[in-house]
Symmetry: C2
Subunit: 447 residues, 2 copies
């Protein structure tokens, strides 16, 4: 909303080289607002704006730009500006950016950094995609054991500039093993002479650096944490994941699931910033696969052609029968996949879920039967109608069962259940539906 | 994961009436962990556990239980326990609970509270569902203008027990109008003699109490805020929304969208805690509607029956043609709806999006044509095959256009674009696909 309002004003300032105005624009607004507005400008214009603010602010603004824009900006930047920028970026944002660049670019960029920072970033880059390590930041506040609250507050003041948050502080021993955690709130409320060991929480929930980012996000969503500590295999503290990372992960995972469910290979950037050909590619593969699978339904139909030659009205209801099965299956699959994405499905409830879907399949299939009988009378005789309404409960039940069992099985095999997209399930149901329909016809009408 | 591990141990403690063990269980673990474990017990057993912890902890644990469980617990509670519990609950959680109860229950529960708290809750209950007011809490920390940092810290210490967060503090004037905001971090870093006015942020982003919760969540997700202030029409501060509320809203909205997209009326609680008949009801309506709509395809097929009598092979490819159109449309609709849900689609990009989908429709439709020609030769002659592959690009293009335009139009009318579910779009495409297919056949084969 801001973008639309402030853009014309900004463009005027740029045209008139209004340095004073530009400086005020950069200083007065929240960096996220500035990023949203300048996202609409050319790279060159963006630089014209950013030249009017201090380095720290410039980094803040760049970090709020979309990933695609950050990439093109960084690629056009001269070495001096670039090294200054990267040196000041928070390690997790820097790593997000580097992950999108090719090896050559990464190497030349890393050479601009000091040894210690380079090692830091190389380590973060080494964690697998989608792991806790890949989203954590190493800029956290930590304190040794046994100090007083007053001393703790003094140390925090020193650490603040290099910490993403000082509201959650972690207590570590000499080997940096995680021993406890304390909030700034409890430090403020405690007597300055008290010992941090006495007021720290000793039962700290932490995640492993190799844990899946989705699990971490679910954990934090459940516990309402501001941050969660990340430890390595020796229980040494290596980073923290903060609430804003969790929101990003949850949004990303929800988008990925929605895309997979619609048979679109997930994209790394937003729809509008992804190139046209990439989108076509990510959809084309699935569409082609489903298209080829559809030829199966043509072959199955052919095998029943002797029947549909005798009873020509049979062909009229093929789309109806297969659509109904597909719809019931899509409903079930989506509900099951979303329940799993929210981390609500444990082993015990899997069987309960399948039982429930069986019952729901019976209820829904049964209700449609009555309605279908009435509606079909406009096209066929009551006896013929029995073929249609006799098939409907069978395809609905097949649909709910396939929609429940396939995603659960995928998950059990360690795969993403959302891979079982609704179009894929629907095309399975096309084949099942046709087979069921013509077999019911055979049973009721004879050869 | 915890639930499964600790449950047997807890059940043993309950059987042996191990008060000491139960007390330790309640004290040592995070309330969210306790809630997860006791969720598996009966209401009576839950009370047996909760009797072993202080009131404050008891409230914390109850607030982490699922909404359904909270409801049944509260309904079975005697008046004394209930009033103690509700009095200690945070206003936003209390309101969440009351919103699920009927008017009689709400009235009798409110009578247990003191006048001021009752008024507070009545006001929160008066905000529309899904508004900022309905998710905010009134327990925030605020300071008057013009005081020193030292004085501010002292006041915060007093406010801390009744504030959900003291990390973001709001500065208000005598009429409680929002004047600025300050973080605890900057208070800690400032000199105690400095004036808060000098270090506070004056350009505070706030939301109106009537704003949509989804917009608020998008705002907070974009800006990485820990909390955002909520103001009324006079710019008076009335509450705050914190990061954990945002995560809840985002999860809720993603679930709602996923369900709508699969033609399921959104449920207020999780799949596993929603009663079977409710689920059947929420799905049955849509399924029945789509089922009735499918009869349209039967009627359309009937109107072309003269043609399929002559060319019997035509019927073989009906499922293929309509499935391909439906799949392309589902892909587009999902991408568009998700892009809108992330708040990334503004007015200007709408037209760009429709142009893009036109291009993508051409690309995808064209690629499938070649492949379809080859695959269909197993069933029909090359000339007949032209009918099939001639229809495919047309249905794919129709699919991408309908998939893009319908959700955007719904949104423009102020409706939820996810109402345009993929099964609904697919059943539209069934009809369009059949009409296109037989018209191409007419054109190429003649009557």
């Amino acid at each position: 909303m801001y973008g639309q309002l402030l853009l014309p004003e900004l463009q005027e300032m740029l045209q008139q080289h209004d340095t004073l105005g530009l400086r005020e624009f950069c200083d007065a607004l929240h960096p996220a607002v500035i990023a949203q507005v300048i996202e609409n400008l050319s790279n060159q214009e963006i630089w014209q704006v950013l030249d009017n603010c201090g380095l720290h602010r410039r980094v803040e603004i760049v970090e709020f730009l979309t990933m695609n824009r950050q990439l093109t900006l960084v690629r056009e930047m001269d070495k001096d500006h670039l090294s200054a920028l990267v040196r000041d970026m928070s390690p997790d944002n820097c790593v997000d950016l580097l992950e999108k660049m090719d090896q050559g670019e990464v190497d030349s960029l890393l050479q601009l950094l000091a040894q210690s920072q380079r090692n830091d970033i190389r380590r973060l880059l080494s964690y697998p995609d989608d792991s806790a390590g890949s989203i954590m930041t190493t800029e956290y506040a930590s304190l040794p054991e046994g100090i007083s609250v007053g001393e703790a507050l003094n140390q925090l003041r020193l650490q603040a500039p290099n910490s993403e948050t000082i509201y959650y502080v972690y207590i570590v021993d000499e080997d940096r093993r995680l021993r406890g955690f304390i909030t700034l709130r409890s430090l403020i409320l405690a007597k300055t002479s008290a010992c941090v060991d006495a007021i720290m929480e000793k039962d700290v929930l932490s995640v492993r650096v190799t844990d899946d980012q989705e699990q971490v996000a679910q954990l934090m969503a459940r516990y309402n944490f501001l941050a969660v500590p990340v430890v390595d295999q020796h229980h040494q503290l290596v980073g923290i994941i903060t609430h804003d990372d969790v929101i990003d992960v949850l949004q990303e995972e929800a988008t990925e699931d929605a895309q997979l469910l619609a048979a679109v290979q997930p994209m790394e950037t937003g729809y509008l910033t992804t190139p046209l050909w990439t989108i076509a590619w990510k959809r084309g593969g699935w569409l082609l696969f489903l298209f080829c699978a559809s030829f199966l339904s043509a072959h199955v139909l052919q095998s029943f052609q002797h029947l549909s030659k005798i009873y020509e009205w049979l062909a009229l209801f093929v789309p109806l029968v297969i659509a109904t099965g597909g719809n019931a299956a899509s409903q079930t699959a989506t509900l099951v996949i979303r329940t799993m994405a929210l981390g609500e499905l444990d082993k015990k409830s899997k069987y309960r879920l399948i039982q429930r879907e069986f019952a729901i399949g019976l209820i829904l299939g049964g209700s449609l039967t009555v309605c279908g009988f009435v509606l079909s009378l406009g096209l066929i005789t009551p006896y013929q109608s029995l073929v249609v309404v006799g098939t409907v409960p069978l395809v609905v039940l097949t649909g709910t069962m396939i929609g429940a069992i396939l995603p659960i099985s995928l998950k059990s095999c360690g795969m993403d259940p959302a891979l079982m997209s609704t179009p894929l399930i629907a095309s399975l149901l096309d084949v099942f539906g046709i087979v069921l329909y013509f077999n019911v016809a055979l049973a009721l009408l004879g050869r």
